[in-house]
Amino acid sequence: MSGQHSDLRELYQEVIFDHNRHPRNFHAMPDASHTADGHNPLCGDQLTVYARIQDGVVQEASFVGHGCAISTASASLMTEAVKGQSIADVEALFKDMHAMLTEAHPEERDFGKLEVLSGVREFPARVKCATLAWHTLHNAITQARDTARTE
């Protein structure tokens, strides 16, 4: 099997398919304390991220919207990963995820389940699909008013 095909398997791992087919925390959150919209104008991916934050800790995170398998799985995995984390930890994770998805040699860190997204690095055209949810959550937490644009 050629290199491209193993790359493709790296990108589309089973966990990605699972979260694409059955996204976790895929619902609106009427009692959210923080929310933001994200939009990737290039491909039309659109999502809204919700978080209920109490005493500086994310009690719950959810999202709605539509996008490709990478963007949906990334959002789904994110809502699971940030639950129970402090805002400082979530912001550090956002930074590290961004580095993991965009840099050739990111710093070593145990990403746990999120590691499945690392295959995106080999597909530069798809990096923005994976980062959209994270930028949107970052905006929600920092209460930036603009729609997140993955930049």
């Binding site: 990108l11 039309g44 659109q46 398998a69």
Partner: protein, 417 residues
């Protein structure tokens, strides 16, 4: 022109790898299957050569030097204008303005004709299948003048709702903007009929020909349109180059759009007077090499014959439509009776972007997304489509590769059983 009837999609129109050097290069270790021609076409060797030869043998600024080389360059430039005139069958070469492409051509009409003519309460009528470049310039114009933008609805099969078009045409309609061929659906719109109806209420018509000129014979006098815009790069020519056809009796009264050198008659600090058309709309040193290369591109399609190209691509499109729609879970978006060169579709359970990535690993280049036609995607209730778009160098093998790639994507995603 030879009769195109005997031609089938199994008969190549030309020597693929000799005429199009890029098609010989592998992509990701595989044969390049280029099906993104709606975005831009590849360039024949004759076009690439014409551009480099211009710089090697003919380069000098036009319309201003007394020296031989300047006159030579000017001759080539004006020869290019005559080529475009004959290509569109315009009545006179003064009706051809060189621009950077379709987008700039439309902005020129909006900025010059539109701003000088439109008043509050006037209406601009566009269709629901327009590219953003035939929507946004008119929206800007509406904001500047108080005119109102109206939209012709699109039917489920991707054709225009013509009864609705008729009822939207009123004496308030000043301009109709319509794509000759839809870039997202492939629909060929009945432009000649639409022009006739628009003229009955006194409206002008601008036709966006970006997706038409490479795929069928275009005759602006037969269409009777007032403006026709196209880009060279979707016609086997260079990027950053295009043209606007504008009917002479309209163009001659249009005010300048961009100011600068070459578009003036006299300049003083009190008052400047402007050049005749078309120079009035070609401020600054133009893309001379681009004109020469566009000339070569038009010559290339004229040598093969647009009727031939149309017949050949029609066979390809029919074959691709049949094979792709036979796959489980595939829905073709745009099933108009008259189509050209474009196959847009969605695959159940697989987002167009994922399709694009998987096909890319097979060397198959398609476009995935909203195709700069977001209102149209909203109308169909989809975020985007996968689009295969054809050119004269595509073959049955390319379609086979497309279908194999789609099967592979369905296997990977566990759909399509």
């Amino acid at each position: 022109m030879n009769a195109p009837t005997s031609l089938t999609a199994y008969t190549p129109l030309m020597d693929r790898s000799a005429d199009f050097p890029i098609l010989a290069r592998p992509v990701k270790g595989r044969r390049l299957v280029y099906l993104d021609n709606g975005a831009t076409t590849q360039k024949p060797a004759s076009v690439i050569r014409a551009e480099s030869r211009y710089y090697e043998e003919s380069n000098a600024n036009i319309h201003r030097g007394v020296h031989w080389l300047s006159q030579h360059s000017t001759d080539l430039y004006e020869q290019g204008r005559e080529r475009v005139r004959s290509f569109l069958n315009a009545a006179r070469s003064e009706e051809i303005v060189f621009t950077r492409g379709t987008t700039e051509s439309i902005n020129l009409v909006a900025g010059s004709w539109g701003r000088s003519v439109l008043k509050e309460g006037d209406e601009i009528l566009v269709t629901g299948m327009e590219h953003h470049s035939n929507i946004v310039p008119w929206q800007l114009l509406c904001q500047q003048t108080g005119a109102v933008l109206r939209v012709v609805p699109v039917l489920e099969n991707g054709e225009l709702d013509l009864p609705a078009y008729r009822s939207l045409l009123t004496p308030r309609t000043r301009l109709v903007g319509v794509a000759h061929v839809s870039n997202a659906l492939g629909t060929v719109n009945p432009v000649a009929d639409m022009v006739r109806l628009a003229h009955e209420v006194g409206a002008k018509v601008l036709v966006d020909g970006a997706q038409a000129v490479a795929h069928q014979v275009v005759d602006v006098q037969a269409l009777d349109c007032d403006f026709y815009a196209f880009s060279a790069h979707k016609l086997y020519g260079p990027t950053g180059m295009g043209a606007l056809y504008a009917r002479y009796d309209i163009l001659k009264d249009m005010p300048p759009w961009q100011g600068g050198g070459d578009m003036i008659h006299t300049v003083s600090f009190e008052r400047s007077t402007y050049a005749d058309v078309p120079q009035r709309f070609e401020a600054g040193t133009p893309n001379m090499a681009g004109v020469v290369a566009m000339d070569a591109a038009i010559q290339y399609v004229q040598d093969i014959g647009l009727a031939h190209i149309a017949a050949y691509e029609h066979e390809l499109l029919d074959s691709a439509t049949e094979q792709v729609s036979a796959l489980p879970g595939v829905r073709i978006i745009g099933t108009a009776a008259q189509k050209a060169g474009i196959l847009s579709f969605v695959v159940e359970g697989i987002h167009p972007h994922d399709l694009g990535t998987i096909l890319d690993t097979e060397g198959v280049a398609i476009r995935a997304g909203h195709h700069c036609a977001m209102p149209l995607m909203t109308r169909f209730g989809i975020p985007g489509t996968a689009r295969a778009s054809f050119a004269l160098y595509n073959t049955q093998d390319d379609i086979t590769a497309l279908v194999a790639g789609l099967r592979k994507a369905q296997k990977l995603f566990g759909t399509g059983q």
